[in-house]
């Protein structure tokens, strides 16, 4: 056999050729049994973080944003850094679910569900920060155009990137949520039909919308998924481009750069894949899903990290080059200050984590070593947080007039809210892997069925071609 027939899988992504029933049982198992000690430990930790967030946010709203370390020179610091960081984390989910769907990458099926969930939780964390930064979160609706309206100027300024951001993030959140839910419907039906408890039956019954596996519905369903993927792909690129315009449309040295949109998008995917890797390594170990989230999946993600990490590194170099080649003294000073000023540690940490760390993934041995991947994925996240910190704080603290230079020092509330946002994120994520199918059951079944088809085709070919030589 020279070539596999069309539509036949050539790589085995799911190990051990499980039967369809076994796939359902394996993936539903974590939801039906009691979670292990690791889950309880992590959940307790996450709840502590969430409590910390609630306390800090209450303190902040009661006292005003003066409890943060912001000052006249540095008016944006941890808040917007965290906002951009979390939005970036979310991007990997949409990339995996939408872009890889369009490219028909089979390996996405084991990881897309949890990555999409991660997107939604990350965007929720991100949305928190502009809200808190307003100081009066109950007036947040001012930023939406609405009628009737008795507050000052009648409309929002549609020419402001901050308003674009509101539209971009709201659309992103809504579409991601709908996409995620739609993907879950057939799995909710599967869970409904195997549920033993009454409450589960009712809840999954409502969530599954009466799904019964009709092929006529599947046919429409597949087209709708494809359409949503087609819409989400430009959407995900637009969201971080618009986030980057919050900076790029200003005149501040270090922000005023034309490469910001692609640079931010690549960075977002890089950080998002870092986070997906962290979460998947934790879940596959704690939920016994090594057969479905295989070393090959981790290997593929490491390759994406290598690619996007190098795009990010290239953007860092370009920024320095344009500052030097452009000859603008403020720009030049900014980049000298970035590498040698009081916040230089942030810059070097960012280079270490985002430029050097991904270089490990040139080596297959390291790409397939779970411990190395886990440590690297955490470094990626640290590096990407510091990238945003460097861009935001270092640019603001020494802009044009030396008379208005200043320093930013985080207060305990700054740090408390950052830590707390991780608490919120992990609480939601841990609840998700406990109560929902964290791997798309029906999508894994399509891959498994394809593999069985391949096995049968190969066996058939081997049988038919006995005696003659045939390589793949």
């Amino acid at each position: 056999m020279d070539k596999l027939p069309d539509g036949v899988a050539d790589v085995v992504w799911i190990e051990g050729s499980p039967t369809l029933g076994k796939v359902t049982a394996d993936i539903a198992a974590p939801m039906e049994g009691k979670p292990g000690k690791l889950w309880y430990f992590l959940f307790a930790l996450a709840l502590l973080g969430l409590l910390d967030l609630l306390a800090m946010a209450t303190w902040l709203v009661a006292n005003g944003i003066g409890v943060w370390g912001l000052n006249n020179s540095v008016g944006w610091a941890f808040d917007i850094t965290n906002f951009v960081f979390w939005i970036g984390i979310g991007h990997a989910g949409t990339l995996i679910s939408a872009i890889l769907l369009l490219f028909r990458q089979k390996w996405r099926t084991s990881i897309n569900r949890s990555a999409e969930g991660m997107t939604i939780f990350a965007v929720m964390c991100a949305g928190l920060f502009p809200l808190l930064h307003m100081g009066r979160p109950w007036d947040a609706f001012f930023i939406f155009p609405y009628v009737p309206n008795q507050h000052g100027p009648l409309w929002v300024n549609f020419r402001s990137p901050l308003v674009w951001d509101v539209f971009a993030i709201s659309t992103y959140f809504t579409i991601s949520l709908v996409f995620w839910f739609l993907g879950l419907v057939p799995d909710f039906a599967t869970l409904r039909d195997r549920a033993i408890g009454k409450i589960k039956k009712v809840v999954f019954g409502i969530l599954s919308l009466g799904w019964n596996g009709s092929h006529r519905t599947w046919h429409r369903y597949e087209l709708v998924s494809l359409v949503l993927a087609g819409l989400a792909t430009p959407l995900v690129l637009s969201v971080h481009s618009i986030v980057s315009m919050d900076f790029a449309t200003s005149l501040l040295p270090g922000w005023h750069a034309t490469i910001f949109p692609p640079y931010f998008v690549a960075g977002a995917i890089y950080s998002g894949f870092g986070m997906v890797l962290t979460l998947l390594i934790l879940t596959r170990q704690s939920m016994n899903l090594q057969r479905y989230i295989t070393i090959k999946h981790l290997d593929a993600m490491a390759k994406v990290l290598l690619l996007t990490g190098m795009i990010v590194s290239y953007a860092y170099a370009t920024e320095f080059f344009s500052a030097w080649y452009g000859g603008d003294i403020y720009e030049k000073y900014h980049f000298i200050n970035r590498a040698t000023g009081p916040y230089a540690f942030g810059f070097y940490l960012m280079v270490l984590c985002n430029v050097l760390t991904p270089q490990l993934f040139w080596f297959k041995k390291l790409r397939q070593n779970v411990a190395v991947l886990f440590v690297a994925s955490i470094l990626v996240n640290i590096g990407m947080w510091f990238e945003r910190f460097v861009i935001i704080v270092v640019s603001l603290h020494r802009a044009f007039l030396p008379a208005s230079w200043g320093m930013f020092y985080p207060t305990p509330v700054d740090i408390g809210i950052l830590v707390g946002s991780f608490g919120l994120f992990f609480t939601l994520f841990l609840l998700f892997i406990r109560y929902m199918p964290m791997i798309a059951i029906w999508e894994v079944k399509t891959v498994v069925a394809d593999q069985q088809h391949t096995d049968a085709a190969l066996a058939h070919a081997a049988h038919a071609g006995e005696g003659s030589s045939h390589g793949k």
């Binding site: 369809l20 539209f167 709908v178 599954s208 709708v224 079944k445």
Partner: protein, 174 residues
Amino acid sequence: MASKILVATFTQVDDMLRAVKQARREMLRVYDVFTPFPVHGLDEALGVRFTRLAKITLIAALTGLSFALCLQFYANVLDWPLNVGGKPDNTGLAFVPISFELTILFAGLITVGSFLLRAKLFPGKKVWLAHKSVTDDTFAVVIRRPPAEDVHQRALALLKECNAANVTEAEADL
């Protein structure tokens, strides 16, 4: 208006596909097939007409685009022109991001909404299952029970020949 049906269950995709094709060749009326995942090749076998939902997406996208452009133009030019740095009121380029986002938002939500309407999926719907494990590992082909006894026997033989695990008679609204 319940109709009499035959429900044939299969454990293998290929057997099910063969059964659907042969049943249609024998002029048996195949209502639908119930599967745990979308099976490729079933569209042709079942003769499903390609869905028109994509057209709705296009209409919805254009609606979103026009709405966004009208909203921004009305707010920034007609209703309350605001001088921001001396820039002209009708700055088309600045309207691009929001127009884009609303295009996507409208297209996505309306497409999904139409899908749910068309497929009659809604919370609280009473579910009818062809077989208890069609959402797990069973493929169920639903055929109209032929009124004539000899055709009925032929249908049963055909399904059996295609390795049907089980064939039952039932009544259902389809």
